[in-house]
Amino acid sequence: MFSSNPSKHRFEKPRIRVKGEFKEVSWDEALDKAADILVKAKRPLLYGFSSTECEAQGKGVELAEILGSILDNTASVCHGPSLLAIQDVGAPLSTLGEYKNRADLVVFWGCNPVHAHPRHLGRYSQFVRGYFRKDGRNDRYIIVVDPRNTNTAQIADLYIPVNPNEDYELVNAIRATLREVDLDEKEISGVKKEDIVKLAEKLKSCNYGVIFFGMGLTQSLAHHRNVDAAICLVRELNDHTKFLLCPMRGHYNVAGANQVFTWNTGFGYSIDFSKGYPRYNPGEFSSVDLLMKNEVDAALIVASDPASNFPAPAVKNLFKHPLIVIEPHETPTSAYADIILPPAFAGIECEGTAYRMDKVPLRLRKVKDAPGECLSDHDILERLLEKVKEKLGE
């Protein structure tokens, strides 16, 4: 991150596409054009927001409300299913410090922190010494449930290779076993019945357990129902001992995006302002679903790269309409943009606030100046908002 600042890969001035070629222009010109696109659009989409600071996210909500647009963040294709499950059955969560100091049983379900969250094991969940876990790794029993024998699975005390996409049945079987039900089947999701009984005993007999779960639950078949079942499992384990769970969030401030959207609109993601008030319905107002049906006629992408993550037909539809990106580098999304607005990195080149995966807000500080004419995401969105208000006559 530090070495890429400044680098030849950075956009240092706003660009607009003229006859297929990018041309560097002034901020005023670029923002004026961007505001024009957004104001003229009947159903604009504002998407991304997960790799930027909370102050910018707040401005994004304001812009969405004034435009009557769709507002969505990357949780839509990430941990959105976790939010759906939490709305259905609640969530026993805690901060990471609690897990570090107390947990003696750690389950990693459908996640691979060795690669995806490399500092997690050392700081919170495995090797670190906690207040009640003075011997670090030796004081913790690690269970990994994953179809793949990942590097995290290789350092676990118990590795359970579940069949792909059959997590729901496994959680379901563990829950029934906890209720002392003798299962009819001999093998469930590739795990033997007696192993499930042993696992249930192990889960019950710890002092303080935690399940960290990742995309393996939220983005395999059954999506939010996997998380729903995992939450119910944790709830039932609390009849026997203390047990909690924690989603392993991806983008550094996706938790913040959900927080900011929620305190402004009441909903975490997939929000539609077209009637002037926020409505929420993933599946109806989520970016991928809208783009698949080509129900968007302009998009502003903030700090995200949907072209790399969305299904190809959705990306094709995204590129059919005017596209504005706030993006520091060339990405598959910005390569096809009509307007590129170059931001500074929050936490390096500008200040801000970000929420950790356990929803603890942290201050981001500035350590050096941004290259060229880069502005913070917050300033860009604020100036864009002023332009939009001007054009709408507000």
Partner: protein, 273 residues
């Protein structure tokens, strides 16, 4: 019953974005002239337009919504929320229809002569929704975050229903409310979190039928791709008595569950053998 008054709507042009047509109900049309009906609001994305901008309107209204039938023609696959909160009367849709048809309906009848998109009959409180085609996901289900979904009424789907149909359905014995779904076949997680809903499937069902069911009856006359491990086989029966009094004959394997919710349960799953 005397012959119902009839209002005919015909979609004049395809909207660019989905229309939010919750104003199309017998309650809203009752006692209004055709000119008044044309002025009723309809959202096209963020533009507030009126029914007359998209539909031609003909026929005659009636003062009593219960004596009013609305017939709608044209391709309505981009028209959402027809019959929302409807209370009495009848709607006949001669086409595929967009999301949320008949959601929150209290009484009356909606017939869809085509396919319906997601959330058909969501949070239904009464009345009858008949879909003579396939339906999307979340048929008769609860909206996000609601713990009580369909509370009463009947949904009949000729074809397939999508995932998580009848999510959080809730019956009530004291007030004699038995939410019921009849369908041709079903996707995964049929009747999840069921709290007393009745589901009868003529054909096959995908995985996880009756997941987290605490009470209720699910009858499957075809095959299930995978019965949940937390269901326990109780035996075989030759007849199933539904809570609404209906009797279904045939040879069924009887399962109790979902035992991941509790050790003792009144939830039942019948699968044809």
């Amino acid at each position: 019953m005397s012959k119902m008054a009839e209002i005919k709507l015909k979609l004049k042009k395809q909207p660019e974005f989905p229309l939010e047509a919750e104003s199309i109900t017998p309650n809203n049309f009752a006692g209004k002239t055709l000119a008044d009906i044309k002025k009723l609001p309809i959202y096209h994305s963020k533009e507030l337009l009126s029914i007359g901008d998209f539909f031609s309107v003909s026929g005659k209204s009636d003062d009593d919504p219960k004596n009013l039938k609305i017939v709608i023609d044209g391709n309505l696959s981009k028209v959402k929320r027809i019959g929302e909160m409807m209370n009495g009367g009848e709607i006949e849709i001669n086409s595929n229809v967009g999301m949320h048809v008949g959601n929150h309906m209290k009484s009356g009848k909606i017939i869809v002569n085509g396919n319906a998109d997601d959330w058909a009959g969501a949070m239904l409180e009464g009345g009858e929704l008949e879909i003579n085609g396939d339906a999307g996901h979340y048929v008769g289900s609860a909206y996000r975050g609601y713990w009580q979904g369909m509370k009463n009424g009947i949904i009949r789907v000729k074809g397939r229903v999508g995932i998580e149909s009848m999510l959080w359905a809730k019956s009530s014995k004291p007030s004699n409310k038995w939410p019921t779904l009849y369908c041709g076949s079903a996707d995964s997680f049929l009747g999840i979190h069921n709290h007393g809903g009745t589901i009868v499937v003529e054909g096959d069902v995908d995985r996880c039928a009756g997941a987290d069911q605490s009470r209720g009856t699910i009858v499957i006359k075809g095959k299930v791709s995978r019965i949940l491990p937390s269901y326990k086989k109780m035996g075989e029966v030759n007849e199933v008595l539904l809570p609404n009094g209906e009797k279904l004959s045939g040879k069924f394997a009887e399962y109790s569950g979902d035992h991941s919710v509790s050790k003792e349960t009144n939830g039942r799953l019948y699968v044809a053998i």
